[in-house]
């Protein structure tokens, strides 16, 4: 298949995505951006003017936020437009006015005007950034018009910095700009802009006037204008491309490019990320940022960790994917990942260190290029020559003042030992002894070992090198000795420290793996939503020393806690709800609702959130969670989400099966009832109509026979009906009214009432006279009647009823010597409408037996008897009856009521 042929036809996936996007465009709120190259080009003016026109056309437009900066001509445009009052926020004694998101949401206009998309909200607002407010407005179905300058686009931040030398702090992620349905470029030539500036028509905050002066240079403005025009043109390109694709016009389809960028804690990584984003945009490629942890490398310091974390977040805001790789070298890990994921281009930073380091350690870039094969490798230079990376100041095993004391002490001990042996040995042996001290001290860490090396040199010089007890040296050869001693100390300590780090690394990695494994195992065993939630909460609480809670949606009650030791405050639940609804993290340490004390992580399986994980500090407010911990949380949350989805699916399937079973029962009830009611009715109708119509022509014997069949089938009908009624009553929750009743009595009354059905066939009884049952006499009589009827209908004489006490229960058995039970599961016999043989009568009798017995807390069973026939058994839990109701076997009362006889 030639690739060309393929390319001419639109890819079905792309078409589908396009249809979806079109559907979305039809329904979702529209975002319009008035886009400019610099402040003062008239974006706000253009937006307000457009709003006035829209209002004249009858569109419901309100101003949610507009910065007029005191310009009269702009303020004049606000006349006649509805303005939603701002929300006052007090921050460090300054009264700030912020967009009132709640008020705008409540007002629900068709279009809301929100000036300055890049604005940063005052602390305490729901969102950290105004663009987040805008996204929420859009989510609520409100169209938003907004303004934006080119320098605020996240991916262009570094380019703008290169042009203007000003570091832009307020940025808007590219995804937000890509979300825009319309981008209107508001253009003004640099000359005009500078004129306006000179006339004071451009608002420049006082404190920024110096920065502004360098910003508003003609050259800068030209460059920015070009940038803005290019950016707008790129959008037009994308539009054209989309249009052509929609209309089947042949276009060069974008190849499936995949870019991998290698990032680390170094500040130059930021530039790498932005460059990759731009490259990916140009190539219509997906891009991934990888951070490689080299096995055995010293851990990062606190500052480096924070920077790395910021880089990873930047990748996410720019729409890239983040992966963390492990390997013995950076290049190796990158290449392995790249080959596995069909990466076409790898982006890496140009080395900033000296060539010497490469000679010693090998160059990552060299290795990468050598091993890349078909994969392109781009090396990108940093913005400026960065300061040499600070010496790693990370956690070092035991490097505290105590270690230094120990190092000094060990050298002191060595010095004393040397002094003792000095008369017998040469200086060469003394240096050896000092080396032992240095090696020992190196176990305490790099710092102490360096101290030990210095002290050794000093002590050796002072105490032993002639002239002794001075620091002066007679023979310059000793400088060599000092140098060797010191070098040995440095090399040994470096090696030892690295070993220690590797060991610690291996241990933490092992722990992390073990934790994940334990979690995976536990969560796989979880059988319910509550189980999964408990496992997740418990693991997090144990590993991170935090309080964790898992919330899951409840059909009646919003989000409810499924597990967790700490009950959440209502405001934390509100944060959780936001995270759940928006599928994004919220709360402490995030950009949304950062004032909350809990971090809420949505548990996302596939497309939708299935729950929320809320994490809270146990005491006080220790520093925000580190990257390792966030990663652990993410990993656990992902797994838990999948497990939750699995469990929920399982529960749904179970419910569906139950529903299906109920449905099946209902339909079998209908068919059985209609059969069992219609048959006797047919007999009765037939017999009765013959009597009515042909009564006179029939013989007396025939008339009697017809009448007899009417009687019999009417009785049969009655039994079916009364069984149905009993069953319904018991199954709808009729509580048996239990009393102590002699077994003999209830068996006797059942036998009396079945005399007719039995047609004189005898039933043997074996019932201890003193045996008492705790039963509802009316309901239980029905149990016995149905069992007797079942035996006489399907079995053969001799019939027998036996009752006896078995420990804490009474067992009553109705047995016969017939053909026995049908093949199959005996318990099925007690299901509704299962009939043992073809004898008439609904298969309801035994279902009634089971229902009533179960309502008494008992069980039913059926089995074939040795020697033939079936035995149906009822087991009722029966405590020992209280003394005043017991019957003595001699037939005498044990009751105290015997004395209360009135005569």
């Amino acid at each position: 298949v030639s690739a060309r042929e393929d390319d001419e036809r639109p890819d079905p996936d792309a078409l589908l995505a396009q249809i979806k996007a079109e559907e979305l465009r039809g329904k979702r709120a529209r975002l319009k951006i008035f886009f400019g190259a610099a402040p003062g080009v008239g974006k706000t003016y253009a937006m307000l003017e457009a709003a006035r026109h829209a209002k004249e056309d009858g569109v419901d437009v309100v101003v949610a936020a507009a910065e007029t900066h005191g310009r009269a001509e702009t303020a004049a445009l606000l006349e006649g437009l509805e303005v939603v009052p701002r929300r006052a926020v007090a921050y460090r004694g300054v009264q700030l006015e912020e967009l009132d998101l709640e008020a705008v949401l409540a007002r629900r206009p068709a279009v809301a005007l929100v000036d300055e998309l890049a604005h940063t909200n005052a602390p305490g607002s729901r969102h950290a950034k105004r663009w987040q407010d805008v996204l929420e407005l859009l989510d609520a179905g409100i169209d938003v018009w907004t303004t934006l300058n080119v320098q605020h686009i996240e991916s262009l931040g570094d380019v703008v910095q290169q042009i203007t030398g000003v570091k832009v702090r307020e940025t808007v992620p590219d995804v937000v700009i890509e979300r825009a349905d319309d981008v209107e470029l508001v253009d003004l030539s640099p000359e005009e802009l500078l004129d306006r500036l000179a006339e004071g028509k451009v608002y420049v905050p006082d404190q920024a006037s110096r920065a502004a002066q360098s910003f508003f240079q003609r050259g800068n403005l030209l460059a920015l204008r070009e940038l803005a025009l290019r950016r707008a043109a790129e959008r037009v390109d994308a539009e054209v491309l989309r249009y052509r694709r929609e209309h089947g016009i042949e276009t060069p389809w974008p190849t499936r490019e995949r870019i991998l960028v290698c990032i680390g804690a170094s500040p130059s990584s930021e530039r790498l990320i932005r460059a990759t984003k731009r490259m990916a945009e140009g190539l219509h490629a997906v891009w991934t940022a990888a951070n490689v942890e080299v096995i055995g490398a010293p851990p990062l310091g606190e500052r480096d960790r924070e920077r790395l974390e910021a880089h990873l977040r930047l990748v996410e805001t720019l729409g890239g994917e983040v992966v963390r790789l492990h390997g013995s070298s950076v290049a190796e890990a990158l290449l392995a990942y790249a080959r596995e994921h069909d990466v076409t281009t790898i982006v890496a930073g140009k080395p900033t260190h000296s060539r010497w380091r490469d000679r010693v350690r090998g160059s990552m870039l060299d290795e990468l290029i050598r091993g890349s094969g078909a994969i392109e490798v781009h090396a990108i230079a940093p913005v400026e020559r960065e300061a040499p990376p600070p010496a790693p100041v990370g956690r070092r095993p035991g490097a505290d003042s105590r270690s230094y004391a120990w190092a000094a002490a060990s050298i002191a001990v060595v010095t004393v030992a040397c002094a003792l042996v000095f008369p017998y040995v040469t200086l060469a042996e003394i240096t050896m002894l000092y080396l032992i001290g240095i090696v020992l001290a190196s176990l305490l860490g790099r710092g102490p070992s360096l101290v030990a090396a210095s002290l050794s040199v000093a002590a050796f010089d002072f105490f032993f090198v002639p002239p002794r007890f001075t620091f002066s040296i007679a023979d310059p050869r000793y400088f060599l000795t000092f140098g060797v001693m010191f070098a040995c100390g440095v090399v040994i300590s470096t090696l030892v420290v690295r070993l220690r780090h590797q060991e610690l690394d291996a241990i933490t990695r092992e722990q992390r793996t073990a934790q994940l494994q334990a979690f995976t195992r536990d969560v796989a065993a979880a059988a319910s939503v509550a189980d999964v939630a408990t496992v997740l909460a418990r693991h997090l609480e144990e590993t991170l020393d935090v309080a964790a809670a898992v919330l899951v949606p409840d059909p009646d009650d919003g989000l409810v806690a499924a597990a967790g030791l700490t009950p959440l405050a209502p405001q934390e639940i509100a944060v959780a709800r936001w995270a759940f609804e928006h599928g994004a993290q919220a709360g402490h340490g995030t950009d949304t609702l950062a004032g909350a004390s809990a971090l809420c992580v949505p548990l996302i399986a596939g497309e939708a959130a299935v729950g929320v994980l809320a994490i809270q500090r146990r005491r006080g407010t220790p520093p925000r969670l580190g990257i390792d911990q966030r990663q652990l949380i993410d990993a656990l949350a992902r797994q838990a989400a999948l497990a939750l989805a699995r469990v929920q699916l399982g529960e749904q399937a179970r419910e569906a099966a139950l529903r299906a079973r109920a449905e099946e029962l209902r339909s079998s009830l209908l068919s059985a009832v209609s059969h069992d009611l219609r048959t006797p009715l047919a007999v009765i109708t037939g017999a009765a109509t013959s009597l009515v119509q042909h009564g006179e022509s029939l013989s007396a014997a025939a008339r009697t026979e017809l009448a007899q069949s009417i009687v019999e089938d009417a009785r049969r009908l009655e039994r079916v009906l009364s069984n149905l009624l009993q069953l319904t009553r018991v199954e709808t929750g009729l509580e048996p009214a239990t009393e102590w009743v002699p077994a003999e009595e209830v068996i006797g009354s059942a036998l009396t009432r079945t005399e007719e059905i039995r047609r004189g066939r005898a039933v043997e009884t074996d019932v201890p006279p003193e045996l008492l049952l705790k039963i509802d006499p009316v309901l239980f009589e029905q149990v016995l009647i149905n069992l007797i009827e079942n035996a006489t209908k399907h079995g053969a004489p001799p019939f027998a009823i036996r009752a006896r006490r078995q420990g804490g229960a009474v067992e009553i058995e109705v047995a016969d010597r017939g053909p026995g039970l049908p093949e199959g599961e005996p318990a099925r016999l007690f299901d509704k409408f299962v009939r043992a043989s073809t004898a008439p009568g609904a298969g309801l009798g035994l279902a009634v037996v089971r229902a009533i017995v179960q309502a008494h807390g008992g069980t039913v069973a059926a089995e074939n008897r040795p020697g033939g026939g079936a035995a149906l058994r009822v087991v009722l839990p029966t405590p020992e009856p209280p003394a005043q109701v017991s019957i003595s076997s001699a037939g005498q009362m044990a009751s105290s009521h015997g004395d209360s006889l009135r005569s």
Partner: protein, 231 residues
């Protein structure tokens, strides 16, 4: 000719009862509601009443309350469905003589009707010294009971229970009635006590107490002493 008042709101039931009773030589008066029933009770002066409990304008027991307090008692048979044992007990405790569970056959109806009318005829209050029900013979002055000629020894309570049942052979007596008459008003809730005494009494009267011929249980209602061994 004896008159039977049928109080039932169902036309088909009334037609069936009318046909059967007329065929047996009774005069039949019909009523479809409580009000009509009470009216007919005074106007037609029936010899027996067949009373349905569920009537459109009220409970059948209201008719029982309206029975003339003086003169010979009019026997009442209550007609009721299975599963409403509580209603039967209330009706019996309120003065009904017997009950029939719907659906019932013509033979059963006539047997019950004859039995209540026979009892109604016998003078109330004073009981004869010697009672004979089926194979059971009770000599009250001598406190002697024989079954098929064989002497059985009863405790005082058993004896009193048996006499209560035998005074109205074939009639069902509720737990409450038996407890009230044998033990006195304070014991009416002690039905387990009654059950225990019935069990010991049955042991002495019956050949197989698990399949009684004479002293039968009406589950949830009470006990009846059958006067014909066939049932």
């Amino acid at each position: 000719m004896r008159t039977v008042l049928v109080i039932d709101d169902d036309q088909a039931v009334r037609r069936f009862l009318r046909t059967v009773l007329a065929g047996q030589g009774y005069a039949v008066v019909e009523a479809g509601s409580v009000a009509e029933g009470i009216d007919q009770l005074q106007r037609a002066r029936p010899d027996a009443v067949l009373l349905d409990l569920g009537l459109p304008d009220g409970d059948g027991t209201q008719v029982l309350a309206a029975l003339p307090p003086d003169g010979p008692r009019i026997p009442v048979i209550v007609l009721s469905a299975r599963g409403h044992e509580g209603d039967k007990v209330i009706a019996l405790d309120s003065g009904a003589d017997d009950y029939l569970t719907k659906p019932f056959g013509a033979g059963e109806l006539m047997a019950r009707l004859r039995a209540v009318m026979r009892r109604g005829r016998s003078p109330g209050g004073a009981t004869p010294d010697v009672l004979e029900v089926g194979a059971i013979r009770i000599d009250q002055p001598r406190h002697e009971v024989t079954v098929e000629g064989k002497l059985v020894r009863l405790t005082p309570i058993e004896f009193k229970l048996l006499v209560e049942l035998a005074r109205q052979p074939g009639r069902v007596l509720t737990h409450r009635q038996l407890l009230r008459d044998v033990w006195g008003g304070s014991a009416v809730e002690q039905s387990h006590t009654l059950r225990v005494h019935i069990a010991t009494l049955r042991r002495k009267l019956e050949r197989d107490p698990a399949q009684p011929r004479w002293l039968v249980t009406e589950a949830g209602v009470g006990y009846r002493l059958r006067d014909d061994a066939a049932g």
